[in-house]
Amino acid sequence: MQLQLVSRSISKQSGQKSAWRISVRRIAPYLGIALILIVWQAVVWMKVYPEFIIPSPLSVAERFVEVVQDGRLWMHTRTTLSQMLVGFGIGTVSGVVVGYCIAKSRFLEDVLSPLLVAMQSTPIVAYAPLLVIWFGSGPTSKIITSALIVFFPLLLNTAVGIRAVPAAQRELLESMSASRWQFFYLLEIPTALPVILGGLKVSATLAVIGAVVGEFISADSGLGYLVNRARYDYDTPLVMVAIVSLAVIARLMYGSIAFLEHRMLYWRTYADQ
């Protein structure tokens, strides 16, 4: 009886601790943001740099409200978002397809890997100006920049994921005379999906970088252009508004893929429990 009471008490305490931990984890990101704002404001108060170098959070917030109200922020955000999403889509599809083919063909891997490694190891800013010359200064060059930066992580993760299919499971399906299609959707996709989605999360944030790099080289709209324009207008608060907007887009992209991962890999959540 006493043992049961002690056990219940321990269980209650551990439940409270667990609830506390969950609450803390939920508010942790906001604590991080609050901490950054406090440090930022402290740097402004201490006058480490003049305010035209580091403007106060309040002046950035005021500028944010202004450009939201006059519609400029949405106009530039829409440009960046559209280019980024199209690039992300093209990069994802082509990365997965080529990654799957490479996983299936060692010969193809031998042929493509030097080119792919060379492309991946070269910073995108180095060849982005060439893309502008080849594909023009319109949205195409930004979409391609975005697609290229997304392509490689997806390709790599897809190839790794498909090759990670356990031999025993493959043999099991073979013994059941499964068709190619059944191999694909019953075994390869479910096995590779966690790795592919991991690559997708990385790529989602990279897609933002790709679009903005293109806009930095040559553009007349988009958040990358807005940063450049604000720099030449000596409008540091607007530079920071554009940067924060880019960070929010990248976070939303990451969050969307994480949500997708949570929904698609529900079986993994149950397994963890």
Partner: protein
Amino acid sequence: MLRRSFARFLPVLLTLAMLTGAALRAQDAPRSITFFLTFIPNIQFSPVYVAIEKGYFAEAGLDITLEHGDEPDGVNLIAAGERLFGMISGEQVITARANSRPVRFVYEWFQAYPVGVVVSGDGTIKSAADLRGHKIGIPGPFGASYSGLIALLTANGLTEQDIQLESIGFNAPQVFCAGAVEASVIYVNNEPIQIGNLAARGECGDVHGVSVLNVADFADMVSNGIITNEDTIASEPELVAQVVEAFHRGLSDVIANPAEAYLLSLGYVESLPRSEALIDALESAAAAQSGALEGGTAEENAAARGALLTDLRTRFDAADLLQLEILSSSIDLWEAPRLGYSDPESWQVTQDTLIQMGVIDVPIDLSAAYTNDFVPGEAESSS
């Protein structure tokens, strides 16, 4: 007794001697100054290279380190006191001052605004008014290129809405020759020569020659010059005068002897052609020009440059001479009866253009944006 006392004080004396020596050495050590330049190392910065190589900065006790970057970064660093001097365009100074940056223009290097619009020599665009309805490339709708274009359009009764403006980055030769734009905003001392060379080689599509619509022919705007911050002017005016004087001497030498300037720039600009034959030819030309043109008139200097290029063109191909041609075209933009002098009228025109573009909302006090007090030979006349 005396010997013992001396022995006792010997370490103290030695220490004092060492400290005095170190202090004297520190006093003699040149002062390190980082000089901010835009773009990348380029023959157009040869006045700075010449001033360094000929020891003009060192004579003033200055050890110069060069730093390249984008104009707004340079302005912000100088305004914040992180750098003391830089080469920045006049319209950036007005924009920066309108946004609380305490920077001031102290020496006007480019006497003619270097921006223009390049068009095909045998195309339909013959004048600025003909730009209406055409697709025009520009690095981006900001900075000196944009200001220059707006001034050019305004002077010819056009607005930005009358043309199709396309941002092409700093890729004018490639984009123009690919036919993606019909005209392009460029620096008149650089890209037209590159495009002309491509056209001469048949590598510029249908373009067989180029012509340039110079902004300077329509609007006298302030271009690049030396800037510093107000604190430095107030607390170290002699330093400002020394830096300006050293640059002024370098600029004068480049104008008088471009062959020598090219040779002295070789250590700074790795893309400069440097075949043995070219260097030999330039060394001979530099020796011949040395001293001959000091104090020469603009016409004499231009004639000497023309003769030098005419002679070299018979012996070297266009690619070998491209950078020297760029230097020669740049000198055309630098030369003036009063080197370094800022004309108040040109500041007013620049400010009016910026207001019209919406870059600044209200006029600033232009007298605080620049001074001619440090320009050699101008201080007495302005005071």
